[in-house]
Symmetry: C2
Subunit: 148 residues, 2 copies
DNA sequence: CAAGATTGAACCCTCAATCTTA
DNA sequence: TAAGATTGAGGGTTCAATCTTG
């Protein structure tokens, strides 16, 4: 046939439900405690860690996996909220984290860690970690992406 | 500590990359061949299968896991494109699939099946299926959700 | 010219407030 | 009244077209 068997269908549904739920719960915990969205957190951690507070927009795009236009829109909204500022630089633009941005990401980090543990790591604690890692690697080769 | 260890961090990133990639690739394949978005496909399959072409909006919301307002907005867009129509019924609203809707979902089903096989099932083929299923169940208990 | 960045329009989702009607 | 549905506003994402500048 060219349709999914009931078993295949169930696995697909289970995967989709799990993927949606984990991502949504982690993001919701962080947002509830800090007001930062997933993308906000991804951007701020990169600027704080990779760049010590100042990071070329270009490098930020590569590290987050965001496309240029998405990042541009998002940084505009974050600048509105005074989480970052932008500054023209040689052959590009530098993104600078503000005091408010530092405070927010500092508060968010432990909340994010706890959320990842509760919603992902603990439920998977019983599994063979090596097998799990290699399975995930097969689904998304590479691995320089997301971070919300 | 209250932060993630490097190992935990890597597992989180691997999970997030895999979840994002699989969902995006399946949706992209269906969209490219049929013009249907993930939510479009979820709605049309439910109306066609659960309701034989007519389904109470209420039941549709429960089956897809969409909140009322999301479903209402989405059905409005789908009605614009003549994929469905809506009709007031006793204590609710019935959603009817149109000929165009039937044609689209008929074309989409095999494309969707092939995409799920290529992007999810084949990469996971080597794993212990029972362990996988129970792990996913632990991440998202329940299981009456999504379907894009 | 070409890489980096921005913009505007269109679509999608969420929240809170509102409308409708059994 | 309460359940079902709609609406409007606002954040988020994508695409294509446009700036900008080394």
């Amino acid at each position: 046939v060219d349709l999914l068997t009931p078993d295949e269908m169930e696995l697909w549904h289970a995967w989709k439900a799990a993927a949606d739920a984990v991502l949504a719960r982690v993001a919701a915990d962080v947002t509830a405690e800090t007001g930062l969205s997933g993308p906000d957190f991804a951007v701020l951690t990169r600027v704080a860690e990779l760049g010590e507070g100042r990071l070329r927009q270009n490098r930020l795009a590569a590290s987050t996996g965001f496309h240029r236009s998405r990042l541009s829109h998002h940084l505009a909204r974050m600048e509105e909220r005074a989480l970052i500022t932008r500054e023209p630089a040689d052959g590009g633009v530098d993104v600078l984290i503000t005091e408010a941005g530092r405070a927010a990401v500092g508060k968010a980090r432990p909340v994010h860690a706890a959320a990842v543990r509760r919603h992902l790591l603990e439920p998977l604690a019983g599994l063979d970690q090596a097998a799990l890692r290699s399975a995930l690697e097969r689904l998304a080769p590479g691995g320089q992406e997301g971070g919300a």
